[in-house]
Structure formats: C-alpha cells, structure tokens
C-alpha cells in the first residue's frame, strides 16, 4: 500500500497540472467577459494591423481562390463588428472606432474584396443592386457591417450604400417563398442568410423603419431548417425545396446564433441551448464544441476548420460569442483557455495568435466582444 503512494501522487498530479494549464491560459477571460475597456482596446489595437496592412487573397492559403477571397473579406468584416461592439459598449471609444470601421468598410467595398463573389456570380454585387441576383456571400455579410457602422456613426459616408444594400436584399427576401437566398448560384446556406437577418434588425433600429413582419417570417422560417432531434441548424439546403443537403453542424449553428442575436435574443438563446446540450464539452478546464453530434460527420472542411476527436475549431471559437451574449461565464472561460492554448497567443494582450492569422485575430476580436443580450437590448 505504501509503495503505491508515489504512483497515486503521480496520477493525482496529472489532472491537477492540466487544470493549472487551463487556468493559466484562461486567465484573461474574466476581463473580456466583464468587458473591461483596457482589454477591449488592446484587442482593437492588435487588429489594426490587419485593417491597415495591404492584404490580398495571396495572404490566405486555403487552396481555393474563392475561400481565400472569403477569408480576406471576413477579416475586415469581423474586425468591423468588433470595433462596433466595443464602441457601443464603451461610448468613449466611439469616435476612434468609427474611424477604424470606416477603414474596414473602405477595404470591404474595394472591388478586390468582392472579387470572390463576382467570380461566382459572373457579375459584380454592387452593380447588381436592384437586380434579382442576391449575392448573399458578399451582400449579406456586408449589410451587417454597414448597419452596425451606421449605429455607431449615423453620419457615416457609407449610410447610403447601407440603405441600398438593405433595400436590395429586402426585395429579394420578400420575393423568396423559401425565406432563404443563394450565397452563390445554386447554393443556399442558412448561416449566410442569418447575417442579413441581424443586419435588418440593426437597420430598423438605426433608421426607425419597420421590417418587423418580414423579419418575423424569416426568423420563423429558420425553424424548418433545424434538426428536429437536436435543434441545431442545417448547414446547407436544396435551393428548390429547402430540403437539407448537409448535416446540422456546430459551426453554422453557432455563427448563426451570434448573427441572430442582433435580431432575436430568444432564438439565439434557443440555438445556443441546442449547442450546449448536444455539442458542448469540457475537459479539466478546457472547453470545446463539437462540429457534429456524436456518431455523425467527418474531419471537417473550410467552414469547420480541423475537427479533432470530434471537436471543431470554428464551432468552439464561434461559441465564445454565445457564451458572452447569454452569460455563460464557465463556458466562456473554458473556450477562451482552449483558444489561447491551441491558437498560441504570441503577445500578452491576446491580440495575435500563431494559428489565427488575420482572420483568426479578427474573429476572436468580434467573438469575444459580442455584446451581452441585455446590453444589446439597451443599446440605441
């Protein structure tokens, strides 16, 4: 019995050491969760590098020119969301962050930023405003950045463009019996559509317009695309009849729940609850979210990032936003510890990550500064 004591000590120390590592890597989570201004400012300063640097598609290496273009676009789009959220949370940052958002929008509306969408559709998204081509891959996401820019700075020079983009997509959604539009010709992803649902709610808040009935129909229509067993959102649907052609997945559900939070906190919460119930997990202080429910799925794709032992990189990262929005501090801390450990923070401010790159840094900025639901409700 006495001889076993060192072995017992060894076995007890292992999980304690793991727990210590999780505590060490999650040490900045409290400040982010509480929304400390200094922490938000540090993240904002870190992302400036990717806003100001002359990035192009060659800076991304997904192996597919379209995805490289999407990542370039998403870097500035998510940065704009991060700047907007922190400006709304800390009004004293409003002026400085409005200027940063302006630079993001300048880059987002550059013809090179929408080349990925133009190549897929065969026509330019901004030239097509008013046509029957929805261009959701570009316009859906752009609308959210534009509407938040207007909320931060009603006098933004992009206000007119925001109104035109919203009017274009409103017309397309009103004409859609499915309640979903094509990201690219013949491809419909509910997640991409939800970025516009969020944008429309923000637009109404800014302008006083009322698209409540349309928004209610669109948000209600998402129910049809949720897995009846788990409540998770299907990643891709048939453009003809809306039947699912991909599984319900963590990455799409989590990002959709984030975007939907701008429009409908209860629906966002319901999607988050589905994630927690079926995909969420934690091991000795490190949190993670699965990409697929157990028994389904594979190794992942460009949306999910690598799927290791079932745990999805994107699903885990996107869920950071949900944990903050819906007040789940333990989950936020666990996911943040995992992000810092695996992502490899290379500065003490948590602004650059070895495995993040431009898109990872911008995503973490937007996701960790997502506004808690009650603060968003009180924001005007």
């Amino acid at each position: 019995m006495r001889r076993a004591l060192p072995i017992v000590a060894f076995l007890l120390a292992l999980p304690l050491a793991m727990r210590g590592l999780a505590l060490w890597h999650g040490r900045g989570a409290g400040a982010l969760f509480e929304g400390e201004r200094e922490t938000h400012e540090a993240m904002a300063r870190g992302v400036e590098r990717w806003v100001d640097e002359e990035l192009d598609r060659d800076d991304f290496t997904t192996g597919d020119a379209r995805y490289d273009g999407e990542w370039l676009f998403a870097t500035r789009m998510m940065a704009a969301l991060g700047y907007a959220q922190t400006a709304l949370e800390h009004p004293e940052l409003r002026e400085a962050h409005a200027a940063s958002i302006d630079r993001c929008l300048e880059a987002l509306t550059n013809p090179s930023a929408r080349a990925f969408d133009r190549e897929a559709w065969g026509s330019d998204a901004l030239d097509d405003l008013g046509s029957d081509r929805p261009h959701v891959a570009y316009l859906g996401y752009l609308a959210l950045a534009l509407s938040l820019a207007r909320l931060v700075d009603p006098e933004t020079r992009f206000a007119e463009l925001e109104a035109r983009v919203v009017a274009h997509l409103v017309a397309r959604f009103e004409a859609s019996s499915l309640g979903l539009l094509e990201t690219y010709p013949g491809e419909i992803y509910p997640i991409d559509n939800t970025s516009f649902f969020g944008a429309l709610a923000v637009h109404d808040r800014v302008t006083g317009e009322d698209h409540g009935a349309l928004l209610e129909r669109l948000l209600g229509g998402l129910e049809r695309h949720r897995d009846p067993r788990t409540g998770l959102l299907v990643q891709s649907v048939d453009p003809i009849d809306g039947a699912p052609i991909d599984l319900a997945r963590g990455s799409g559900t989590a990002l959709a729940a984030y975007f939907v939070s701008f429009a409908d906190a209860a629906l966002s919460r319901s999607l988050f609850d589905a994630i927690r119930a079926h995909l969420g997990g934690s091991l000795l202080g490190f949190g993670s979210v699965r990409e697929f429910v157990p028994g389904e799925g594979g190794f992942g794709d460009v949306d999910s990032g690598p799927v290791l032992f079932g745990q999805g990189v994107s699903a885990s990262g996107f869920s950071l936003a949900l944990a903050r929005i819906h007040g789940d501090r333990p989950m936020f801390t666990g996911l943040y510890a995992t992000a810092r450990f695996v992502g490899g923070e290379v500065d003490s401010g948590g602004t650059h990550y070895a495995l993040g790159g431009p898109i990872g840094d911008a995503l973490l900025f937007a996701l960790t500064t997502a506004l808690p639901a009650e603060r968003w409700a009180a924001t005007r």
Partner: protein
C-alpha cells in the same frame, strides 16, 4: 526533465512567433492548399505546444511522486 520541458516550451514560443511572421495560420485551418513549409511550421508549433503541455503534466506528476517517495523515506527513517 524540467530543463527539457523548458526547452520544448521555448521552442513552441519561437515557432509561434515565426508562424505569425510567416502567416502560417491558414496551413492548419485549411491544409488543402497550404504551402508545405507553412504546414510544417504550423505542425511543428502544434507539436511543441502539445508536447510542452504533456511535459509540464509529466514533470508535475514525477515531482509529486518524488515528493511522496521522499516523505515516505523520512517517515521510515524517523521510525527506524
């Protein structure tokens, strides 16, 4: 063992900084089109990261076991 752990962790830190400078992030997020050198760099970084964590855990475990053995020896000496 502690020195080896420090070396592995140090290597991980260096690899992390080089990975940022080389913008190797996409290599693991989407390996399909990754530049082989970026993929190798990102892989080395991850290896050092997980290896370093495993070494920290092992060092702590071995340290705890040695402390327990030392405590037992002292108790034996006092009795003996």
């Amino acid at each position: 063992m502690a020195i080896l752990t420090a070396l592995v962790l140090g290597f991980g830190e260096v690899a992390a900084h080089v990975a940022v400078d080389r913008n190797a992030a996409g290599a693991l997020l989407s390996p399909a089109g990754a530049d082989p050198s970026a993929f190798l760099l990102a892989g080395l970084y991850l290896l050092a990261r997980f290896g370093g964590a495993a070494m920290v855990c092992l060092t702590t475990g071995v340290g705890a076991a040695e402390l327990a053995a030392l405590a037992l020896r002292r108790m034996d000496r006092k009795r003996g």
